[in-house]
Subunit: 248 residues, 2 copies
Amino acid sequence: MKRVKIVVAYDGTMYCGWQVQENGITVEEILNKKLSELLREDIIIIGASRTDSGVHALGNVAVFDTESRIPPEKMSYALNQRLPEDIVIQHSCEVPLDWHPRYQDCSKTYEYKIYNHHFPNPLARRYSHFVYYPLDIEKMQQAADFLKGEHDFKSFCSKRGQQLTSVREIYELTVTKKEDMITIHIRGNGFLYNMVRIIAGTLIKVGLGVYPPDYVKEILQGLDRNLAGPKAPACGLTLVGINYGKNS
Amino acid sequence: MKRVKIVVAYDGTMYCGWQVQENGITVEEILNKKLSELLREDIIIIGASRTDSGVHALGNVAVFDTESRIPPEKMSYALNQRLPEDIVIQHSCEVPLDWHPRYQDCSKTYEYKIYNHHFPNPLARRYSHFVYYPLDIEKMQQAADFLKGEHDFKSFCSKRGQQLTSVREIYELTVTKKEDMITIHIRGNGFLYNMVRIIAGTLIKVGLGVYPPDYVKEILQGLDRNLAGPKAPACGLTLVGINYGKNS
């Protein structure tokens, strides 16, 4: 038996998120089905990040165990032949049998995209959130700077979160603009349930002038979800990648 | 009566091109229907560029005549309320009654996007053509330089073209790469049927090393469609905009 790691990119528009559920088709479900067909055994993958309905990924990570004699690094090609065009394996390789995509140190990188213009752009609509009113990205960056570092992010977490602690560390958090597209780039050692989308929703309120930038400090200190902005829509969010450091 | 100009952006993925036809839904047909509903009279628009099935636009242009008392500059907002999310009016304004989107000097700008990587990117797939083998963009730019200026582009035109002359002038033609996305940017005083996609297909062959860059000179001189590369797929092409100069 061997353990195989796959890096998965997907357009989340048509999926009810990553994790198998009864209400609709998920990315995990498609991968389990297509891997089981390809390898002719029952495959159940374990994903690193259970992205929400409508959220995209360029580099989510999953593992599975198999008896197959197909070389692990060839599995990406064979699997891509069977997958729909909105799910593409970017990489596959063997990892040690005790390698787990969730229980170890890693950093995750997300991007939240906002199309900020007078009219929506139909070519950007699937992968960004449209905001009509002009956003002040300098104020958004000032607010973002307060969130960098290690904090208790309880105010930025939807209730469903089951984590023991809501302390996380954000290593990078930048707000940049190119033409009409604003990108919130965020890298951290882990994120609470809906945390990136609540940060995006809060930074949008700062950009609109509804919150002053330093109100974000009060939100953090209050440890109360009701203080933060709304959860920004799923379509703007992409899990860019997961970095496990030099050992993987 | 007044004449109204609209600037239209659309994701062409789901449409059988711009022009009304029997085989499927077109952008022109949707606009005629929604404008007629909004203005409560039969509206027939005239478009500047009859983009092909699957081709996108950020700034196609059309005009129509109306008796409506809705201010022309407000029509974009009212119409966007009725349109599907893959068609968005970017601008509307009144123009003189003799203003025609096709019969006058203008320059058109197109971009052809190529995603050049080992695996497809599901977030790029709708708006770019995937090429697996590495492309040499320096050679592509060398070949592109031979196409700039005024030439008879008969070799770069599909048979259906009905134009009296196949002489056109290309003002700008650049090949740039950012991460894994190659952009062919082209601006000219007009384009023959399928011309941009045949140029893209030819430059891809140069980038692959199939044609040397200066073979493009021979293609031009031969005045024979069979000498040029294949028509590149529609999904990579976007009509960026049409510039009518200072009078409009």
